[in-house]
């Protein structure tokens, strides 16, 4: 990756993908695959709960985007490095290693949830493990990532900050301010744009006059690269390289991950802006199936094992649901807590 932006999608060579897979190893790869299934199952369960009227508010599901979440979060050191992500954040949170029980409880607004029921779907955070939160404001986390980068630099640690945002965020003012600031100070930030082709109903083709969002990196003199976001290894490769750059003090990178959102933007999305055929086409490129096939080809996994993994995942979701449903609601008497630090 030089210091100029690339046009076109950076392809991952077969040779390199085999090398990467080998370096990750079979044990870790299976964990990653299981996490992908977990994300998928969690999102499907979330949708079901919503339709049954058991959850409150709205949700933004990331079914179909699992490879980007895992590829990025596994390429940095979750729990040591920092994460800021966006409203479609269940996947990122889980990929960062969040506990299912606490996520489900938060999702259902219970006291035992990550945010004591005060945050909900759009604001889930696991502050102890440096997950600084999903964010209800498009591009809301991007200026804060500059502050995190500054903090890392001034404390002189080798941490990096991974900030994930969508295609819509790339057109906001704060995106520009933040990338510029990160570039002038060489901050250790990885700006990951999860381009799922639509900002709610606004197609990327209509909202941008350029072909690839990563081209914008040249405005800030930083490297930019676009990858196939449904290929776990491709995302993992690119984000690892960006993290290494950051740790070496060489500054930020803009990574664009091309993926697709299987369901509507949120639950009230009629999806008039895209065709069923388009959705079907992308579903055929299921990132989980792709990665599972890879692992089978690499002999890390046999096809029969998939059922075992899936049923284990389903059980963990059931357990999480049971935990959440039996958890207490927050006590109204504590409603004023948490506004100010004492």
């Amino acid at each position: 990756m030089g210091n100029k932006s690339t046009n076109g999608i950076q392809k991952l060579s077969k040779k390199r993908s085999i090398k990467l897979l080998k370096s990750i190893g079979s044990e870790e790869s299976l964990k990653i695959l299981e996490r992908m299934y977990t994300i998928r199952a969690f999102e499907e369960k979330a949708e079901q709960l919503y339709s049954l009227g058991k959850t409150h508010g709205t949700m933004h599901l990331s079914i179909g985007q699992e490879a980007t979440s895992l590829g990025a979060c596994k390429a940095v050191r979750s729990g040591y490095d920092y994460l800021l992500n966006h409203h479609r954040g269940h996947g990122h949170c889980l990929a960062w290693g969040a506990e299912l029980n606490l996520m489900m409880a938060e999702f259902m607004g219970k006291e035992t949830g990550y945010c004591r029921g005060r945050g909900g779907s759009m604001h889930i955070a696991d502050v102890e493990r440096n997950n600084l939160g999903a964010n209800g404001i498009v591009a809301g986390g991007i200026p804060m990532s500059v502050g995190v980068g500054l903090s890392i630099q001034m404390r002189a640690t080798d941490q990096v900050c991974l900030v994930i945002f969508g295609d819509g965020a790339a057109n906001t003012g704060p995106f520009h301010e933040a990338l510029n600031m990160a570039s002038i100070w060489n901050l250790p930030v990885i700006f990951l744009c999860e381009n799922n082709q639509y900002a709610m109903s606004m197609a990327v083709k209509r909202a941008f006059n350029i072909d690839f969002i990563s081209q914008r990196s040249s405005s800030y003199g930083i490297p930019g690269v676009t990858v196939d976001g449904n290929d776990f290894l491709a995302v993992y490769d690119v984000v690892s390289k960006a993290a290494k750059r950051a740790r070496q003090g060489k500054g930020p990178t803009l990574v664009e991950s091309l993926t697709y959102r299987w369901l509507g933007h949120s639950k009230s999305d009629r999806q008039l802006y895209r065709t069923r055929e388009e959705v079907k086409e992308w579903r055929a490129r299921d990132p989980i199936v792709r990665f599972a096939n890879r692992l089978i080809r690499a002999a890390f996994l046999a096809e029969e094992d998939l059922e075992t993994i899936k049923s284990r995942v389903d059980q963990s979701i059931q357990d999480a649901l049971a935990f959440a449903e039996s958890s207490p609601e927050p006590d109204v008497g504590t409603i004023m807590e948490g506004v100010y630090a004492d």
Binding site: Y82, L84, G113, Y114, C115, R116, G117, R118, G119, H123, A125, V127, E128, N130, L132, G133, N135, G136, I137, G140, G141, I142, P143, M144, S145, V146, G147, V148, G149, L150, S151, I152, M154, R155, G173, P174, E177, A178, N180, M181, I184, W185, E337, G338, V339, Y340, A341, D342
Partner: protein, 342 residues
């Protein structure tokens, strides 16, 4: 609840005098000397020394990384402060004119103010954002705003307005260590005013009002530059047999209203004086607290406010003067109230 009386400050005035700007600078300098995590962020604060000279010389002592010039990016400045505060630092940002805080509003109102609450009290944002407010310099409508009540209206933010050099230093040091996002609103016309400022790192607690002057006829609650104007008015009125009691809240939110309520119980009359526009201004908040408290049963006259006209600040010098309360307006209003015009 403690109240300092005027005599304390007057007694010590012969010892050492600093201007409001120098007092602020000393607070910043001493905080940065004592604590490596304190750093400054803002436009033209380095070699230029800040638009009003507050940070002059600090870059020589602490270097350009801890006294960091930024591009014109108010959203990123506010967001960077929030992100750095979230991850172990104590940033003190500067917004060059309070008017421009409007460009930072999303990051302040939706991120810095809310992160702690949304994350169930598990995170904190110990940042300060300093900003000069107020009119009287002929800078006209877009550089003369007093917008503190917009910030008061956001739970999670604290709003502080020092009225003199002594308070400025003590309040700034408290703000830096308060553990919450503090909006520190200075006044342009106060920067050159002087008072006694001790050399040590004293702190004036936030949410503690100051009884600036004791009197029996009328309770005056005044903020920022209106405190000294009220003191001036009080001297003249004393000759007419009218004794004002002047209370400076110092922290607008969370407000320490005990002193105010007790004072109104004593005097039976109250007026709130501030520079910001009357409608929707801070005066409404204070008046509501007074009439909603047990002080109601001791009122001898309507509780009033004296504040800016509901107009943008005009350029013409005389019009600019007329737009906000001056000493003669305060004298007239006080006379009216005490002599039973209302």
């Amino acid at each position: 609840m403690l109240t300092e009386t005027q005599t304390e400050r007057e007694d010590a005035q012969t010892i050492r005098e600093l201007t409001y700007a120098e007092a602020l600078r000393e607070a910043l300098q001493q905080a940065m000397q004592a604590d490596e995590t304190v750093f400054l962020l803002g436009e033209d604060i380095g070699v230029y020394g800040g638009a009003f000279g507050v940070t002059a010389g600090l870059v020589d002592e602490f270097g350009p990384e801890r006294v960091r010039d930024t591009p014109i990016s108010e959203a990123a400045i506010a967001g960077a402060c929030a992100g750095a505060a979230l991850t172990g630092m104590h940033p003190v940002g500067e917004i060059q004119f309070m008017d421009f805080v409007t460009l930072s509003m999303e990051q302040l109102a939706l991120q810095a103010a809310k992160v702690r609450f949304m994350f169930g009290g598990k995170a904190s944002v110990p940042m300060v954002l300093r900003m000069p407010a107020g009119s009287g310099t002929g800078a006209a409508a877009q550089h003369s705003e007093s917008l503190e009540n917009l910030l008061v209206h956001i739970p999670g933010l604290k709003v502080v307005m020092p009225s003199n050099a002594y308070d400025a230093k003590g309040l700034l040091l408290s703000s830096i260590y308060d553990g919450n996002p503090v909006m520190f609103v200075e006044h342009k016309l106060l920067y050159k005013t002087k008072s006694h400022v001790p050399e040590d790192m004293y702190q004036i607690p936030l949410s503690q009002a100051n009884v600036v002057r004791v009197g029996r006829d009328l309770t005056v609650v005044a903020t920022s530059i209106m405190v000294s104007r009220a003191e001036e008015a009080a001297k003249q009125l004393s000759g007419e047999g009218i004794e004002l009691e002047i209370i400076d809240p110092r922290t607008l939110n969370p407000l320490d209203d005990t002193a105010i309520i007790n004072s109104v119980i004593k005097t039976g009359r109250a007026i709130v004086i501030h520079e910001a526009v009357t409608t929707g201004g801070y005066g409404g908040e204070v008046v509501a607290r007074i009439v909603g408290s047990r002080a109601f049963d001791y009122l001898e006259a309507p509780v009033r406010r004296l504040a800016g006209l509901d107009i943008p600040i005009p350029y013409n010098r005389e019009l600019e003067r007329h737009a906000v309360p001056q000493v003669e307006n305060i004298i007239q209003e006080a006379r009216n109230l005490v002599r039973g015009a209302y």
